[in-house]
Symmetry: C2
Subunit: 585 residues, 2 copies
Amino acid sequence: MYRTNTCGELRISDAGKEVTLSGWVQRSRKMGGMTFLDLRDRYGITQLVFNEADDAALCGEANKLGREYCIQVKGTVSERQSKNSKIPTGDIEIIAKELKVLSPSLTPPFTIEDNTDGGDDLRMKYRYLDLRREAVRKNLELRHRMTILIRNFLDAQQFIEVETPVLIGSTPEGARDFVVPSRMNPGQFYALPQSPQTLKQLLMVAGFDRYFQIAKCFRDEDLRADRQPEFTQIDCEMSFVDQDDVINLFEEMARHLFREIRGVELPRLEQMTWHEAMKRFGSDKPDLRFGMEFVELMDDLKGTGTFSVFNEADYIGGIVVPGCADYSRKQLNELTDFVKRPQVGAQGLVFIKYNADGTAKSSIDKFYTPGQLQKVKETTGAKDGDLVLILSGDNANKTRVQLCSLRLEMGNRLGLRDRNVFRCLWIVDFPLFEWSDEEQRLMATHHPFTMPNPDDIPLLDEHPEQVRAKAYDFVCNGIEVGGGSLRIHDTQLQEKMFEVLGFTPERAEAQFGFLMNAFKYGAPPHAGLAFGLDRFVSILAGLDSIRDCIAFPKNNSGRDVMLEAPSSIDQKQLDELEIKLDLKN
Amino acid sequence: MYRTNTCGELRISDAGKEVTLSGWVQRSRKMGGMTFLDLRDRYGITQLVFNEADDAALCGEANKLGREYCIQVKGTVSERQSKNSKIPTGDIEIIAKELKVLSPSLTPPFTIEDNTDGGDDLRMKYRYLDLRREAVRKNLELRHRMTILIRNFLDAQQFIEVETPVLIGSTPEGARDFVVPSRMNPGQFYALPQSPQTLKQLLMVAGFDRYFQIAKCFRDEDLRADRQPEFTQIDCEMSFVDQDDVINLFEEMARHLFREIRGVELPRLEQMTWHEAMKRFGSDKPDLRFGMEFVELMDDLKGTGTFSVFNEADYIGGIVVPGCADYSRKQLNELTDFVKRPQVGAQGLVFIKYNADGTAKSSIDKFYTPGQLQKVKETTGAKDGDLVLILSGDNANKTRVQLCSLRLEMGNRLGLRDRNVFRCLWIVDFPLFEWSDEEQRLMATHHPFTMPNPDDIPLLDEHPEQVRAKAYDFVCNGIEVGGGSLRIHDTQLQEKMFEVLGFTPERAEAQFGFLMNAFKYGAPPHAGLAFGLDRFVSILAGLDSIRDCIAFPKNNSGRDVMLEAPSSIDQKQLDELEIKLDLKN
């Protein structure tokens, strides 16, 4: 038997017991003929004591142990002289009697502490050591706990988890698929699912009524900071429901998770239309942890002064930054540089300081009268001591998106984006389509199976850009955590959607014929939603990146540097698959 | 609102209520001015009544509904005149007042009944209709219930579910990998995991202590009846445990599942060595639902008579088939044909009938004296009226495997393999290696990470074929449901294993360097096990095939005939991946 107890469970009430523990050497120190050793496992840390006076040989062995040696120790639980109130086992120690090295360790390439000295690359290469750090491990424990809570919640709501296949067909609409050559069907390929979207809709046609799956999804896209080629969705679908049914049920699930994981009670969530969110926050995922809502200033500033930039603008909007009228020239220059970065893309930044003494000082003093600036103060509701930051441009929504970046930057600077505060809401009434500059055509904002708002169906032919979708996103702290929609369940309407999206009937049939055919056999009205599990975990864990809640993430080149994957494969494998390399370089 | 109730929940106590139901038309019949319609959803069937006298127009609409129309009905719950005790809603019916067609249906290509008229191919092409059949849907409901039970059981035992990546590196040892070309790393490929074996071992090195995952696994093998290219494992690993710890814990899990799902109380399970299982049943997965254990007859029949086949044999073994001494010539010929089939591969079959009158009649009467046949009766324990079937051959284990096929065939013929009876056991002490005729070398019986029995380690160099593994399989009703082993956690021993398996150190390093490197940092003793979820579900559901407990299975060519996957992909996709087709035909 390797252990009678874990390193996290012995207490003062166990004093006197003979125990066996196994674990890793966290650290050791010598003090007055004694060696103290912290033994660590997943459950905690227990102090071991080796007394030179009692057993010099044993103590000598203990002194030879290096960090991260895996050892087994037998001894007696004893009350500590100097207790450590920071850990649950801090009242006791083990007076060691026997010691066995189960497995020695080389010196780890970085320290196994919450604040490690290992850089990202080293940590990923030795991920099995990185995962020994409590700071990382607890994220994966939280992830496990969340999935248990989610499954039991949905099970109680009569949802059935159904595994859908990972080897499916390729659908060029949407992101790029990962593909898998089929050896048994040479020249043909499976694709890995970007989501189980069509399969879950088929389960609704099959009468499953309430489906969910915590499902791996795959997208072969160029990776940005917070993207992984494989990620996990909490994927759900329901029949015979309307938008409010879905929203209510999954809001309740979110409430359950916030309560159980963080002890936070979410209020009934606001539903904000996409248009309102864009107008007030310049984003379809507004961060509501702080104010600084947009104030439109067209009436105050366009055509009222001699500033040609404003006079030619189609949108002028500002935010009130409270208490920052004392910003220095240097700070304002930093903000100007910030908005001019290519990622933001604004031409320049206008500021108005409303000083404590009631005067105003701005970058547009020469174009506007003090009275006009006072008018802006009234419109924006700025107070003495506040700073107003203004952007303008010839495309209202583009400018709003720039102003959103500035607002979030100010939130960061003022420490208003507290990771322990959670502000969630629903965004509704998305536009059904959005224009793609790249493809020069309308694309589905969500996906081609989204139900148009019935009131807007007459607009499909003439004004598709005005059609609202029966779609909803769950947003928390400025992050889109989930999203879904009512689905089309009618063959004709689905065909119409493909037509507006520029599909020929042949292409629609080739790609989605199986779904449109299924709709001909009594398809029920249905709707669904998917949460990004990685994002949901990272929010509840207070993490910046989803990477820290994934056991073995890939880097920005899609590589697993620990496994050294991807890698070249044998010619025999290529031959069997009847493919060959066609390298450009 | 689409419904106030499901089709499975209304009872006599609801009589008088106004309700709204939604579902599918299962069947309808007209009787004396009334139309009766069975409305079906996942939860049950409720009878609707349309009375021509009350509302002729509504009744006319109801008469127009075809099978599988998806409809919504409002009406009043009413006590039935002729109750149907077979269904929970059989005491009531709904007097319909309003009817709305939510979605019409074409005539389904097969009937949506437990016993459908659809063949396999048609059912798979229209799987979304096939899944409407209760007989199929209940298997997936059972699968869901099992995974909930498993997860909560393991969670209570401190196991953490960790998602390991699906895009990993290719390892040519073992079955054939599915591979995924990497666009960002041209010429390189990911592989889909055959199991998370090495990753779960790394999680043990990482100190996770108890890991599990219900994980999709992939093998690109030619498909046999009960194989799927993608399948699901309940994958588990534990640190600081010995074989008995693992066996006890997972036996308890199995006991929990049999109890909760089938109401069956499993006894403490027998542990049978591989050698004993081969000797008594000719199989490492013996079906213990019936007897007919092997009796070795070398002493009785080799060299004692003039039958050259037996005199030259290295193994002669028989089974006693109770009460079958009256088998006809035709029946015995069928059995001879059965054992001579290429799948079984025996040369011939010898029988001895021990007649009710005490005489014996055999196919070897001319080679042996009646006394010698009487001796066989004593050795086998056959009684008057029993039939003894005997096989012989020059390779003991090969002959035993043939005799195993015959034993199972007799079990089938005599109805002894009852799907509602469960006989489970553990098989232990597997040989660590097995000889591969194809590869002309020793292969790992399980995988190269399996711990040799410490007593046998001295045999590794000279007699590797005699080395026993610390491995164990969970067998139920002749099916291997799970298996696992203690793992090597020592770099040197792991290197030795690769050496015996004929790996060069370079190849071992290239393929498994990451694991052997990890073992250098205080790897804990660890062990694990994986159950085949598909098989486990199919046993508990009483199914012949795993296909019926998979939502969207593939056929024997690895095709999903509903999705028409795999399929050809665009030239653009191939170009981006920098591969091209290299078709042989």
